[in-house]
């Protein structure tokens, strides 16, 4: 039974993409459950004080899933939901990749893969240096794990025992066609991370994992997800990676999500 809130957010995402003729909708659907649970149950934030370094922070390293982040931030009061319909318009704050200087609640400007994770690592290290008791969350894509900076950062975070850092991998296997990643959890474990593997659309499992205590090392959550989750025509179809639904598809998708 689909979560009503998630269905609503997905409809908003599809609508924003349809209006823009743009957007990475399947990537957004791949991570939406993870982001929703994070913001709804775990992350300590204040929408009235975005980017407050004393509170918890989240970095969407796979910036092309921005529509999911925008929908969640709007739902949580960082900005008005009707802004979603301006997605990718010339004067909109909401671009195809998130801009931290335009969008309240966006902690880092990402889009070039392999940047957000080491930025989050720097935030976690910064909190340790300043003795701030917050937590830093980051979401990376499995394709993003092709980037060398991911592994450089994995090495660094373990070395500095960043127990305030939690990284989630959106493991939807979309780039297996290019480069097999093998056992991601085992790889991060070998770097010194604690790891959990969960079904990435199960809210209870996501919540349990995000609340898992890891007192002496960073935590990696491998979230097994489906790209385009919840819309049959999009699920695991590379043709939909960066394509907006036309009028007919838009109506049909909204019906499917109702």
């Amino acid at each position: 039974m689909p979560n009503k809130k998630i269905s609503k957010l997905k409809r908003q995402i599809v609508q924003a993409s349809h209006f823009a003729g743009e957007g990475h909708v399947p990537s957004a659907f791949s991570v939406l459950d993870l982001l929703w649970v994070l913001y709804d149950r775990v992350l300590k934030f204040d929408a009235g004080r975005p980017n407050d370094v004393m509170l918890d922070r989240f970095v969407l390293s796979k910036g092309h899933a921005s529509l999911a982040l925008y929908a969640v931030l709007a739902e949580k009061g960082f900005f008005r939901p009707d802004n979603l319909d301006t997605f990718c318009k010339y004067d909109s704050a909401l671009g195809g990749h998130p801009d931290c200087n335009k969008v309240p609640g966006v902690e880092a400007s990402t889009g070039s893969l392999g940047h957000g994770f080491p930025i989050a690592l720097g935030m976690a290290l910064g909190s340790k240096i300043r003795q701030i008791e917050n937590r830093i969350y980051c979401l990376i894509g499995d394709g993003e794990c092709n980037e060398g900076t991911i592994w450089e950062s994995a090495l660094l975070a373990a070395h500095h025992q960043l127990s305030n850092l939690c990284c989630i991998v959106d493991h939807n296997h979309s780039t297996d066609r290019a480069l097999e990643l093998g056992d991601l959890a085992a790889k991060f474990q070998s770097f010194g991370w604690e790891t959990l593997t969960i079904p990435g659309h199960d809210h209870e499992e996501i919540n349990r994992a995000l609340n898992h205590r890891h007192p002496s090392s960073p935590l990696l959550i491998v979230a097994e997800t489906t790209k385009g989750y919840g819309v049959k025509r999009m699920e695991n179809d590379p043709a939909w990676h960066h394509r907006a639904p036309n009028d007919r598809e838009f109506k049909e998708i909204l019906e499917e999500l109702s």
Binding site: A108, S112, G122, M123, L125, E152, L156
Partner: protein, 296 residues
């Protein structure tokens, strides 16, 4: 004192009273900072040899309201990490300090992998990036203290070679060393050692730049020789600042020539002075180029 030793001294001093300062070393200069490692263990880190991630990490520190300094050899700091500097600092509008060693071919004996005459030209492409080329250790100290906490990404180019004496430098401001009417020479950072003797007894103006970004257009505009002839003496790729000169004097026509590093791989070894000789960064060649420009 060398610029590298001054760098240690300056940073150690700043670490003492500025608790926001964090030094990240790319496994370079570690011995020099051995006291700082002990005294400021949580703010002086030998991060390792992973420059792109170090730059991104540093931007995360900046987002935690800290002031990062990243230090390693020029090509690995600038060329390897260019995208990280561009996006994580430039695009995100964050402040940080990038301090390189191994200017141009300072590491001549190590070969082309360790040369970096492109650094200034490359970094000029990042909006908001500041670029500082001190000519002496004392100038580095003054410029760093003036600029390190100004909220911009700033590149400090340490050189193994220095001018014989320091100028009273100000961040973002050029020094008028002398005025003249036949031509204007614009000297950047450590090349002043070659330029000063080259201009003796010539009616040629000399402007000295240690901040090349933001460029001090006004000083050049106000001191342009009546002849409209400019000779740039650059310790990096020749012609890197030509567009700055044209911009400064616009709409006046100007004839600009440059002595600097040619865009070639300098595949021989030896010492930096050998490459200086090869590319013409010598007092003798500067004199010849100035005279040729005057007589053209």
């Amino acid at each position: 004192m060398s610029m590298r030793k001054q760098f240690v001294k300056t940073i150690e001093s700043l670490l003492t009273f500025d608790k926001k300062l964090v030094l990240l070393l790319g496994d370079i200069g570690v011995f020099g900072f051995h006291n700082a490692f002990k005294e400021f263990a949580n703010r002086v880190l030998n991060v390792g040899i992973l420059e792109p991630s170090t730059v991104s990490l540093a931007s995360g520190l900046a987002k935690s309201e800290l002031i990062p300094i990243i230090h390693t050899i020029a090509p690995f700091l600038v060329e390897r990490s260019f995208e990280q500097i561009k996006i994580d600092f430039g695009y995100q509008c964050l402040g940080g300090n990038f301090v390189s060693v191994g200017a141009s071919y300072d590491y001549a004996s190590l070969g082309c992998t360790h040369h970096c005459p492109s650094d200034v030209g490359v970094l000029q492409n990042i909006p908001g990036m500041e670029i500082v080329v001190p000519g002496t250790a004392a100038e580095f100290d003054a410029l760093f203290q003036q600029g390190y906490a100004n909220g911009h990404p700033t590149y400090y180019r340490l050189s193994e070679r220095e001018n014989l004496s320091s100028q009273p430098v100000r961040f973002g401001q050029a020094n008028v060393i002398k005025k003249g009417s036949l031509a204007t020479v614009v000297a950047v950072g450590p090349v002043l050692q070659h330029v000063l003797p080259a201009l003796e007894n010539l009616d040629v103006g000399l402007l000295y730049y240690t901040t090349v970004e933001p460029f001090d257009y006004q000083t050049l505009r106000e001191n342009l020789a009546t002849s409209g002839k400019v000779l740039l003496i650059e310790p990096f790729y020749s012609g890197t600042l030509t567009h700055k000169v044209c911009q400064a004097v616009k709409p006046r026509p100007v004839a600009v020539e440059s002595v600097g590093v040619p865009r070639e791989f300098l595949t021989r070894y030896g010492h930096a002075a050998d490459h200086d000789e090869l590319v013409g960064l010598t007092a003798k060649n500067v004199r010849a180029r100035v005279e040729a420009l005057i007589n053209a």
